[in-house]
Assembly symmetry: C2
DNA sequence: GTCTATATAGTGATAGAC
DNA sequence: GTCTATCACTATATAGAC
């Protein structure tokens, strides 16, 4: 085994960091290949085009996070049926794990935030087509926990949860990690607070 | 009086729409001046640089929205003291009014969302320096309504509110405006739902 | 205040040697 | 699989005529 990263992996990692900092449009392939310390032609060899590279950057992490969410959701339904907080934890904690992880996880959360803001190109469609079933699973699970909730109200509140989660995980807001607290503890605190806040909101 | 827009105003309007659609980095001054139907050199004459144009696009609307928020907050505190929902309405509804307004208001909300995602350049600092006092006013007002709330918890929840608001106003989520409902009604519904959701969260 | 023309640099992508 | 060299374009910014 080897601790080396392949050219392809180095390109993906560098692209992820730069996309998060500057956006897709503002990030040039030359910046990416320079940071990855590979030749400019390598990105076209491995990915074909810049747009394809953007999609690969997403797929790599989102697939993992979606699987993580669905497996936690199944556990929650099996072991703690009818408990809203467990469902919300299955939604929130994989995002937290991603954001707190090494290898630019925090950067990736900002990439997601950007993806939503870039509403015109095919990226949003790509995300909703590929991961829409995850959202629908959670909608069903939450509806089972809050029986009287109207469908439209459920969807509004899911949107609020998604927004609050994205915002908090990306460190957009007022809250900054205090000096004495490590990253993982800080993220865990965020998850606890959000689950409590959202649970009250869904039940109101 | 005239219904004409000046060159400067046309540049600002076109820039706002394009920034919202594509981001700052990906939007060229040529796109801006082409849409505004002005010469490419005009933007440098009126704004000096692209970065300055970006700042002006923000300032123009954020100043109005912040004033609107503070005036509604003062009214709420005077007329409906201690009522959390009135405070939240003062925070949420000016954003809604902006998003529902003509002249690319919906686009502008996405510009704000982008500003938060672009964490590296000076834009975030510019926003927090210029509008931080508004956030602090609302923090104080909400704290007065929910006396037992710890300061840290209050800030977490303010972040959740901000995230949910941004996300919902920008139409990022699952909820789409139904065909029979006009834009303004849809936005008003969003505000009502969010105020209810957040009020329950703050009180939990 | 608006225009044309242009300086200077960076862009994505590709061809072809190794 | 990686390299150099280069193509055709576009970018921001500015100089100077009107």
């Amino acid at each position: 085994m080897s601790t080396q990263f392949s050219t392809k992996e180095r390109i993906l990692g560098a692209a992820e960091e730069l996309f998060a900092q500057q956006g897709f449009g503002a990030t040039s392939l030359r910046q990416v290949t320079s940071r990855a310390d590979v030749n400019i032609a390598a990105v076209n060899y491995h990915f074909g085009s810049k747009e394809n590279l953007v999609n690969e950057v997403f797929r790599r992490r989102m697939d993992d996070m979606s699987d993580h969410r669905l497996s936690m959701l199944n556990d929650a339904r099996a072991q703690r049926p009818g408990e809203l907080e467990a469902i919300l934890a299955a939604f929130v904690e994989p995002a937290l794990a991603l954001a707190a992880g090494r290898n630019g996880g925090g950067a990736f959360i900002r990439v997601i935030a950007r993806a939503y803001a870039e509403q015109n190109d095919g990226l949003r469609g790509f995300l909703s087509e590929r991961y829409g079933h995850v959202q629908r699973e959670f909608a069903r699970a939450i509806a089972d926990c809050v029986p009287g909730l109207a469908k439209e109200q459920l969807y509004w509140r899911l949107d609020f949860l998604g927004g609050a989660l994205t915002y908090a995980m990306a460190d957009f807001g007022l809250i900054r990690r205090p000096p004495g607290v490590d990253e993982q503890t800080h993220r865990r605190r965020a998850a606890e607070e959000l689950i409590r806040f959202a649970a009250a909101g869904f039940r109101s």
